[in-house]
């Protein structure tokens, strides 16, 4: 059972090796309940592997991971984690609303503690009038918004997001990070967000964890002490640029420049 002392995500000495490839060196990471932590690093450094280990989609070769004191497998079985994959992964035969309900419909015997109304959420992300549409009728950005709603609708205390905006153009991407901040802030879920984008990392996070090249290891952490709620004009603030520079410098240190 979970206890207060174990609350949050704890990654202790986790490493992952696939056959002859070390994907992730030993990594320690904690994410407190309600905290938004971004993992950033060069391509192939093991960011996604780390996320998949936390989500119980892979098992670590070494070390241990707990979510509120439980193993990732147990947390998965209790639907304590909402997952947002890189591709929207919408089911083409389900309408937008049915896709938004998907994670609630699956393993339905496990009642989520605080499910949100997917229709309300679709309204909040500007897709109310597309409830009955099919995924192929939506743009890439709209599809990814449905992917976010699907994860938020679960009402899980933790969300894992794997570069969800990677395939979008720069303007859609900015819109999506602003929308995600608006969705995250009132929910109070702990979030692990994987990205390549400095702007996303700084705008969304309470903390940014920088990984070095493969096999990924933590090369540094930057605390983002910008005020919340965060709004788009923050991105013109000198403090925002300073934090972006700090994260960039750590990234470059990680790759040996």
């Amino acid at each position: 059972m979970s206890t207060g002392a174990e609350a949050g995500i704890e990654v202790v000495g986790a490493a992952k090796r696939f056959d002859r490839v070390d994907a992730l060196a030993t990594v320690d990471l904690t994410v407190a309940p309600g905290e938004i932590v971004t993992v950033i690093g060069p391509s192939g450094c093991g960011k996604t592997t780390l996320l998949r280990l936390i989500g119980g989609l892979e098992t670590p070769s070494a070390g241990a991971i707990t979510i509120d004191g439980e193993t990732p497998e147990r947390a998965k079985g209790r639907k304590r984690v909402g997952f947002v994959p890189q591709a929207p992964a919408l089911l083409p035969w389900r309408t937008v609303e049915a896709n938004a309900r998907l994670l609630l419909d699956l393993n339905a015997a496990v009642t989520p503690p605080r499910p949100s109304d997917p229709v309300d959420l679709l309204d909040r992300v500007g897709l109310a009038e597309f409830r009955d549409a099919y995924p192929h009728e939506l743009s890439g950005g709209m599809q990814q918004r449905v992917g976010l709603v699907r994860a938020f609708a679960l009402g899980a205390p933790y969300l894992l997001m794997d570069e969800p905006f990677a395939a979008l153009d720069e303007i859609s991407r900015a819109d999506m990070r602003h929308l995600l901040a608006e969705l995250c802030e009132p929910v109070g879920a702990g979030v692990v967000f994987v990205t390549h984008s400095l702007a996303e990392a700084v705008y969304l996070s309470d903390r940014v964890v920088v990984l070095g090249p493969r096999p990924g290891r933590v090369v540094g952490t930057v605390t983002i002490d910008l005020p919340r709620p965060r709004r788009p004009q923050l991105e013109d603030d000198p403090a925002f640029f300073a934090l972006e520079s700090e994260v960039r410098a750590l990234l470059l240190t990680g790759v040996g420049r």
């Binding site: 998965k76 639907k79 997952f83 994959p85 591709a87 992964a89 035969w93 998907l102 994670l103 192929h136």
Partner: protein, 255 residues
């Protein structure tokens, strides 16, 4: 004129041209009725006793539909197991390939001895020869389910049953429909042949075999064309079902 009326028009033009060329060739080359009958004579042969041909067509349609339904049911169960476990898939290959490549004309006597004559033999043969295409479609379609969606299902610990019914099976539907369209022709051939060769009491195949034995060209060719019409009706029914069930699939969308 919109796109669908235009394609409908061209299909009609093609059909009329086919019938006219067929009629002209038979008349110009003076082809014997037993070798190939002119469409006009097939129509008049049918018009002489439509009830006779329609009741035979109804029997053959039943053999076809029941055989295909049994094949599909077996293929869905077997295909789900094969898609879930690769060693199973490898182990099943010899049997599937053997069924596909062995000419059924050669073993119809054994089928008749095992199942008994008539309807059981016809239904068995239709099901037997159409299973492999359905199995391959089911396995391929299920394996092709979006990997990101599979991870999503796994992220909330969805059961195997949920993964099968809510992800793998819908993903396999387009391939299963393609196999069904191929299997309609194959199954119709099997039904027609088994009715004749395995001693059915009625059916287009039985009728055609008797016509052959009696050297009755018009009768034979009318059963052949009735079987072809049955196939066209079955294809059309499949297309309509596909349009309804696979509205979401790219094959059903207008460019």
């Amino acid at each position: 004129m919109n796109r669908s009326s235009r394609s409908g028009l061209w299909i009609t033009v093609g059909a009329v041209a086919l019938v006219l060329i067929w009629e002209a060739l038979v008349r110009l080359l003076d082809v014997r009725p037993f070798v190939l009958l002119a469409p006009s004579r097939i129509v008049s042969s049918f018009a002489d006793d439509p009830g006779f041909y329609l009741s035979d067509a109804w029997v053959t349609a039943r053999h076809l539909v029941v055989g295909l339904a049994i094949a599909l049911a077996i293929a869905l169960v077997a295909g789900s197991a094969l898609a879930a476990w690769r060693p199973f898939e490898h182990a099943a290959q010899p049997a599937l390939v053997l069924v596909m490549v062995t000419p059924w004309v050669a073993y119809i006597t054994s089928v008749r001895l095992v199942t008994g004559p008539g309807t059981p033999a016809a239904v068995f043969l239709v099901a037997f020869v159409t299973i492999p295409a359905f199995v391959y479609a089911t396995v391929g379609g299920m394996r092709g389910a979006d990997p990101a969606a599979r991870e999503l299902f796994s992220s909330v610990d969805a059961s195997r049953r949920e993964v099968l019914l809510r992800l793998r099976l819908p993903s396999a539907l387009p391939a299963i429909f393609t196999a069904a369209r191929f299997n309609v022709g194959l199954g119709l051939g099997a039904a027609y042949y088994a009715e004749g060769a395995a001693g059915a009491r009625s059916g287009l195949g039985e009728s055609g075999f008797r016509a052959s034995a009696l050297n009755e060209g018009p009768w034979l060719w009318t059963t052949i064309l009735c079987a072809a019409m049955l196939g066209i009706v079955a294809q059309f029914a499949l297309i309509l079902t596909e349009r309804r069930l696979l509205r979401w699939h790219q094959s059903q969308r207008r460019a």
